[in-house]
Amino acid sequence: MSFGRMHRKEDARFIRGRGTYVDDVRLPGMLHGAVLRSPHAHARIVSVDVSAAEAHPKVRAVITGQTLAGLNLAWMPTLSNDVQAVLATDKVRFQGQEVAFVVAEDRYAARDALELIEVEYEPLDAVVDARTALAPGAPLIRDDLEGKADNHIFDWEAGDRDRTAAIFEEAEVTVAQDMLYPRVHPAPLETCGAVADFDKVTGKLTVWCPTQAPHAHRTLYAMVAGLPEHKIRVISPDIGGGFGGKVGIYPGYVCAIVGSIVTGRPVKWMEDRSENLMSTAFARDYHMRGEVAATRDGRVRAIRVKVLADHGAFNGTAQPTKFPAGFFHVFTGSYDLESAHCEVSGVYTNKAPGGVAYACSFRVTEAVYLVERMMDVLAAELGVDPAELRMRNLLRPDQFPYTSPTGWEYDSGDYPKALRLAMDMAGYDKLRAEQAGKRARGELMGIGVSFFTEAVGAGPRKHMDILGLGMADGAELRVHPTGKAVLRVSCQSQGQGHETTFAQIVGHELGIPADDVEVVHGDTDQTPFGLGTYGSRSTPVSGAAAAIVARKVRDRAKLVAAAMLEASPDDLEWGDGRWSVVGDPSSGRSLAEIALAAHSNLELPEGVEGHLDAVTVYNPPNLTYPFGAYICAVDVDPGTGQVKVRRFVAVDDCGVRINPTIVEGQIHGGLADGIGMALMQVMAFDEDGNHLGASFMDYLLPTSMECPSWELGETVSPSPFHPIGAKGVGESATVGSPAAVVNAVVDALAPYGVRHADMPLTPANVWRTVNGDPFRTDLAIP
């Protein structure tokens, strides 16, 4: 009843400029913080002199690594069981690393005082190129870790090594390709920041911060700082974009908290754009080598992958504990293979930590890119059309639920149908004919296909936790006497429209309008525990919790309705938003009527305390597996290397669509992201470790001018593992689109014998690729 298009409830405040972001929080007596950052990528700290800064008339406190060391807070745990410096004490390990924190009466004074701090550095050689991080004699980054003698973090593998090797031995055709998924940044409109307010009288700490995981933050603050958890309140107000970059705890948050404790006044810290790009969680940075074994007639038999993962100076990736490479081992994609194997090695470099951020579904992005690029490399080798090659290898509907060679249990789908729909929408054969005509005239046009399978909704507690916290989500539903409801959820919206979608879920289950359901989120004092919004998990996990808790309310309403109707609950049926006696629709009682009765003096049956409120915790039985087929058409100017994305067809299957408008909005954003990554985004570093993309002049975000008018299509394969069959869609388009764009550009360059080019495909990169002399996109352009 309540599924379907409706305007987002939250838009009313956003379009009027009435949202409340962290920077809008103003408390009486509030002070302002600023972070002093390292200009060096790798240097020993010889001395830090803060006396001049402390003497500034508006400065209230200067905090250094030494100050924090005294509180045992100079280092904090990362989300991957490593440690990260809050403020550097011994060395700085990436450019932009936090060295000191100034608290002053206003922002200007805090910033001015940074220039009064004297830090003496002894510069060290930096590890910039991940491919040399393990070379003998490479500078040692993590000498803080006892016994650490190199820059190695972990080795991890999945799949069947021997069986895969055996297939490669005997395969009719094998292809191999090196490729880089460059280091990119989510670059949300709103940077990170915090307002910390420690009340010395009550001992209560309140932290406003744009976190995607408020409950996890609260628990970590309690565990790390030893503050009692019930005395910590984390409020995540309106958030201007997260994309994974706002999952972790940043040093600035801790500094703001310490600043408030030290000064006894609230402290606000908001980072600027360059700080955000230089120091907060990056994404990707996977150096991959893919190999495919196939038959001559184009049956893919096995895939194996070797990955060198650049994790930066501290291993801070946010992912379920058991999976140091996230869900990368879903790289067999959408195809029916005999065997697969991957090996991932993580290394330290002198770059910012982070690692999973940017709408990647725990590295499914890298996995999809790998397999979808490899499919095109194979297609080129075999001389088979890339769409046809995919069609030959896609999983068939009768194979679901399907267990992949690396152990994933895909839930549902009709993959060939989705690809066929995308091809029909694109007019695939016509496009190919047009391309042939253009090629004959020396013009460059390319068509790129990508088919992706996502793995989202982390996740089942027995497999998935973050720092020991299981990934199940709570939900509480309160129904007022007049039948209006308040849903409290643990996850937090950064633009996904939860206040609307989740209200629709409850409305759907209870037969009331979505407008009658208020969704409360983002405040740990007001909501039940859960792990937050990232990895497209909100609808699969918290959305499921919302449906289940609404069903609990409905079941309770049944008992009350039975008392109202003086009938046995067994004789009642639910329909049209009413409980009624079977066969007598006129006896029906709406939720509002039942709610009033539940709060009245009506005598209730044994076991019903009154009211309809319910709570639940949802532990997902499996992940959900959205999928889609994307087709992109580009024109390339051979004289300049400029790429124009002319068309983009996206067929998405995210199961049941609760609010199609919101789903389409998520897809539009993700497709734009994909164009950004494929064509213009990269954080490269020069040989000294200087960040070459630390402003929006250097780190380019796509605009509407780079995006074609998206052509969207859908198929619907409900997930059997989700109470309403929804699969999640937040990251689908970001995951699936880069490969389509790159495949299209490489296809356009086929007349030059090009089989691969690394992202981003800037004009210079395309031109050099055409000329057979591509450059490394992750390093300074020579």
């Binding site: 922002r107 360059s274 004289g639 605009t703 800037t762 210079a764 050099r768 352009i781």
Partner: protein, 287 residues
């Protein structure tokens, strides 16, 4: 949020007043026009002027676009958006339209000024190439009165111009050449980005041969944003693909591009040739 260091602020209400304020505050004072180059540099603390002299009140004096005799006068305070929309300017020289529509974005164009663009002296500034191709003259005013500087002597190095700290750029004067064609070609990584490279061309043909050629180049290390050797090659030759391609190659040979994240030097040199060729062909097509 990035915040600048402390500075004094004065709003000028006339050109003489602005000059007086510049005199009073000395060389550490800076004029602010649209502020789209200066303010970001101040926020990044790459520039820390002690005082800003705001000349946005001088739009009446410095905001004109008009044909005066055989010259088109463009005031220093003309905003990018105004130049883009000026039928007078773009009618005479379509190169203005070609270039202005790819300079920054509408928000920047609404504030950024012609004078600020030239005085910033950024080696990638688009208008520097445009005015170089057009052989404009800059009118500069200081305590001693006004003087003129040929645009091809205006830029004296990256971020250095002929305008002294106590002077103002007043306007640009472009010789109106009847029967000329003009065009601008730019490669950018994304809309609103600074050029990876760009070229502008102005051509006049007489009796079947090129009588006058102007070529402007930016972001490729072309001295004074122009290509005199390529221009010399063209004059006296019939216009055509071959001459244009050759001129492009000559222009490229005389550039000194530097590699940066927009591209390697060889690519930029290639673009200098390719875009010069395209701009010349475009200009010829508009004669």
């Amino acid at each position: 949020m990035q915040v600048p260091a402390t500075f004094a602020y004065e709003r000028a209400d006339s050109v003489p007043h602005a000059l007086e304020l510049l005199e009073r505050y000395g060389p550490e004072a800076r004029v602010v026009a649209g502020g789209h180059s200066l303010i970001p540099m101040m926020k990044l603390r790459l520039a820390q002027p002690e005082a800003l002299i705001d000349i946005n009140g001088l739009a009446a004096e410095l905001g004109r676009i008009a044909v005066e005799g055989d010259e088109l006068a463009i005031g220093a305070m003309v905003r990018h958006a105004e130049l883009l929309e000026s039928a007078t300017a773009t009618g005479l020289f379509p190169i203005f339209q070609d270039a202005e529509r790819v300079i920054a974005d509408p928000i920047v164009r609404n504030r950024g000024t012609v004078g600020g663009s030239l005085c910033q002296g950024d080696p990638s500034e688009d208008l520097s190439a445009v005015f170089a191709a057009l052989r404009a003259t800059a009118v500069v005013q200081g305590p001693g009165g006004t003087r003129t500087v040929p645009i091809r002597r205006f830029h004296q190095g990256p971020y250095e111009t002929a305008v002294a700290p106590n002077e103002l750029l007043i306007e640009l004067r472009v010789p109106v050449v009847p029967g000329a064609g003009s065009a601008y070609e730019k490669v950018e990584r994304r809309v609103g980005d600074w050029p990876v490279a760009a070229a502008g061309a102005v051509l006049r043909v007489e009796g079947g041969v090129i009588a006058q050629a102007g070529i402007g180049l930016t972001a490729v290390g072309a001295g004074h944003f122009c290509a005199p050797e390529a221009e010399a090659h063209l004059v006296g030759r019939p216009p055509g693909e071959e001459a244009f391609a050759r001129a492009g190659r000559i222009a490229a040979e005389h550039c000194e591009p530097h590699a940066d994240q927009r591209g390697p030097a060889d690519y930029k040199r290639h673009l200098a040739a390719e875009l010069t060729r395209r701009a010349l062909a475009g200009a010829a097509g508009r004669i």
